[in-house]
Amino acid sequence: MAGLAIALGLFSFAFAIHLIVWRSGLPGRQTRTLLFLFGTVLAGGLFFFSVRPQVLDSIGLYAIGPWEAAQAAAIYIALMLAYITTYSALEVDSPSLVIVHAVFGAGETGISREEFERTMSAEVLIDPRIKDLIRDGMAKLENGRVVITPKGMRIARIFDVYRRISAIEGEGG
């Protein structure tokens, strides 16, 4: 359980730093910054606990061996990946969640499809996502046209292969 306790402690520390940094100002490359921040805390934390085992003694945990350190790292990395995966839902507005929020908010009045299409335009639903792809190097603008980059092609292929293997029908989206 020492590995679990260390992982949870380090993750909580990293999350607190993340909140402080984000409230000071959103970084440009948010996912990349998250990976750097959480990765640094993990590396620093494991190094600290390996050279200062008396810190663990003072909080009632015994000094950890390499397997427990590996377990702590594995749990921390899984927590980090799970959070960064969730973060994509925080970074952008999910149309499904916006629809559900609006429908329940409308109560007995309800909402028509036309009202959705009026507020959920291409400027809201498409343009920001194209900008994201360009910002992340997966697409570029050439002569007013959006062109995929080699990085974008690799990502697209991964999902194409997965959809084919899983026999997922339809175009998706």
């Binding site: 993340h18 909140l19 429908v103 639903l125 792809l133 999902f159 998706g172 989206g173």
Partner: protein, 182 residues
């Protein structure tokens, strides 16, 4: 049957092995059992198989090795947490492949090749009406919203309504705003 090998290595690898079982189970069941239904059923099936693998490895370790009962529980909690977190990440990957706008746009761009697409062409392939229509269809199909006389009303609150509330709260906590457009 005893699983041979270093118990500590097995303990560390068991959630990863279970993820392999999960992914294989999900993909195979989608192709063979859940062909025409939403991918969610295959994800639940794969998750259950992987969970059984975690339990099987822990049981084998306990019954053939020298673990105390307290060590078994500690190991089981860690393994199930790790497996749960990895499964959550995989669930999101599957979700991205089915529903994400960026991935759909990227796949359309990949098909267009070196010529790319103009903004109008992108919208013609996959526009706001498609995005709203697909999502309304999914939400109606799962009963999260209902339709009466051409208007939409709230249906079952679990789980999407509560997920929406949680996400809005997290946005406020982390970003200090409810929407990317604020």
């Amino acid at each position: 049957m005893a699983i041979q090998g270093n118990p500590e290595v097995l303990r560390l690898l068991s959630p990863v092995i279970a993820m392999g079982v999960n992914v294989l189970g999900q993909v195979t069941s989608k192709r063979l059992l859940f062909k025409r239904v939403a991918v969610l059923k295959s994800e639940a099936f794969g998750f259950a198989l992987g969970l059984a693998a975690v339990l099987a490895v822990n049981w084998d370790q306990w019954s053939t090795c020298c673990l105390e009962l307290s060590e078994l529980w500690a190991g089981l909690i860690s393994d199930m947490l790790l497996y749960g977190l990895l499964s959550y990440c995989y669930f999101h990957f599957v979700n991205l492949s089915v529903t994400a706008r960026r991935i759909r746009i990227l796949r359309d761009l990949a098909r267009a090749g070196a010529d790319g697409l103009s903004r109008d062409e992108l919208i013609a392939h996959y526009g706001p009406a498609d995005i709203v229509g697909i999502r309304l269809g999914r939400l109606l199909g799962s009963g999260q919203i209902v339709q009466r006389d051409g208007r939409y009303y709230g249906g079952r609150r679990f789980p999407v309504y509560w997920i929406a509330q949680a996400v809005f709260l997290m946005k406020l906590l982390v970003m200090g705003k409810r929407s990317e457009f604020e």
